[in-house]
Symmetry: C2
């Protein structure tokens, strides 16, 4: 079913060096058997090809490929991939799709440099859909927005001429956006009593006292066995005040997650590093 020129990428002698990077689980660095180093060798172990043969490619040899931000979970874009595109993505660790309109592979960022660096590739239960879990370098959309999904159908129903630029964000990032908007509004003339968020944004002393207070209250839910619901509610308070403090200092929550990912992916990476380099010849 898969008809594009993947065979041309397969060489008779395959030698791979298996290495790890702090932010990426796998990368195959092709080592050339010939002296012609200008040849791009995208070949992959036969077992990878066999695995991909097990995917349910549609009648055009494609699966749906959705790129998702590994840290925030934001869906960045959706395209299609043929076997060659998945092989290229798996080997070069940059999200690559098959353009149905141009009938060719395209690596997101090949002209804009806004690549999506791949951390993992996930297959669904039916094997006909994949997620490219990756880290975008710059905006994912050709329009310059972080994600291609920035139009709410509900908003369009309210206002068919407007309704744009509401990014499809999950709760934490929607809240982060709301706080950013409140901060932006502070630059213009304000009437009436400011909202709680604005008061916090304007008063570091108040904000810090609230962060310490809410952290203490979260601890008390444990110390005094106040129950699950109270814990969730108090944790929500702490998270909200952390988001405000990040907004004050122009730090995105995504940057916090980058720190966490780097710290907590260490164990797996260290485990891999302790392995002898994998050199296969088949």
């Amino acid at each position: 079913m898969w008809t594009s020129g993947c065979q041309s990428l397969t060489f008779s002698i395959r030698v791979y060096v298996y290495s790890n990077f702090s932010s990426e689980k796998h990368r195959w660095n092709p080592v050339f058997a010939s002296t012609n180093k200008s040849v791009v060798d995208l070949s992959l172990p036969a077992k990878v090809e066999r695995l991909l043969d097990g995917l349910k490619w549609d009648d055009k040899g494609l699966v749906v490929a959705t790129a998702q931000n590994v840290d925030t979970g934001t869906i960045l874009m959706q395209g299609f991939a043929n076997k060659e595109a998945v092989l290229k993505t798996a080997s070069e660790r940059r999200a690559t799709f098959y353009s149905r309109s141009r009938s060719q592979l395209w690596t997101k960022g090949e002209t804009s440099n806004n690549f999506i660096n791949i951390h993992d590739i996930s297959l669904d239960c039916d094997r006909d859909s994949i997620i490219y879990l990756g880290k975008p370098v710059g905006p994912a959309c050709h329009t310059g927005t972080a994600t291609c999904f920035y139009t709410s159908l509900d908003d369009l129903i309210d206002d068919p001429q407007g309704g744009k630029h509401k990014l499809a964000l999950s709760t934490l990032y929607s809240l982060e956006n709301i706080i950013s908007q409140r901060k932006a509004e502070l630059a213009s003339f304000q009437t009436g009593k400011p909202s709680w968020t604005k008061r916090l944004l304007l008063d570091n002393k108040l904000l810090c006292s609230k962060i310490r207070e809410e952290a203490d209250e979260l601890c008390r839910t444990m110390e005094e066995n106040e129950g699950r619901s109270r814990t969730a509610s108090e944790a929500a308070d702490v998270v909200y005040h952390i988001l405000v403090s990040l907004a004050v200092q122009e730090v995105k929550f995504e940057e916090v997650l980058e720190h966490l990912r780097e710290r907590f992916s260490q164990s797996g990476i260290e485990e891999k590093k302790n392995r002898a380099p994998k050199v296969t010849k088949d």
Copy 2:
């Protein structure tokens, strides 16, 4: 291009009551012009149909439809939708797809009751892909897992017979999973020095002292102008310790987000509630 029986859903007299719910922005409650209340009237205002006419339906009258957890951002499943499926999703607020194998609509959960309740529908820049941002009731996958994406290609490459059940989670939820695993490991016999996470899980006093200490350190980054990078790092420390405290009390971070969503979606909802019920006749 869209060929299924949507026209049959259109009635000459359309009366809608426009109402709001705490967790959902829109819901059209059809009010029947006839006395036959058993007839399911899925008709929507002409403007909604016109909006959907503007989508780029493929040669089979479909767009890709991806269901995403509104709170965590986890991609739950991916299917396809025809116009009728999007209309039904928009009106009934439950993720509905078009089954290509059975050539019929199917609402996720119609047999299992594991519905995905819709909060928003997002269109991409090309208008050929949509996100159903929703809240799953129970597991989204027919296999019983939270998401259909539980197979890592990288893991399969390492172990073609295994490599399953690594959910496609973004950083925060991967970390939450790691902490849960550490907690589960505590039930079995432990040798050697326990990890820091395990020490925290075993000692509420230590955990609470760390939560208070890290919250204080985050505040100091603001009070002492320690810079953006230090702020992100200290916020990461607080978030990690919050996750451990949630694990101790068997609370998922998703529950924390539910609290935040309920609080911060109030303003928009209240604004809508203050409007007179929208009754249209066309």
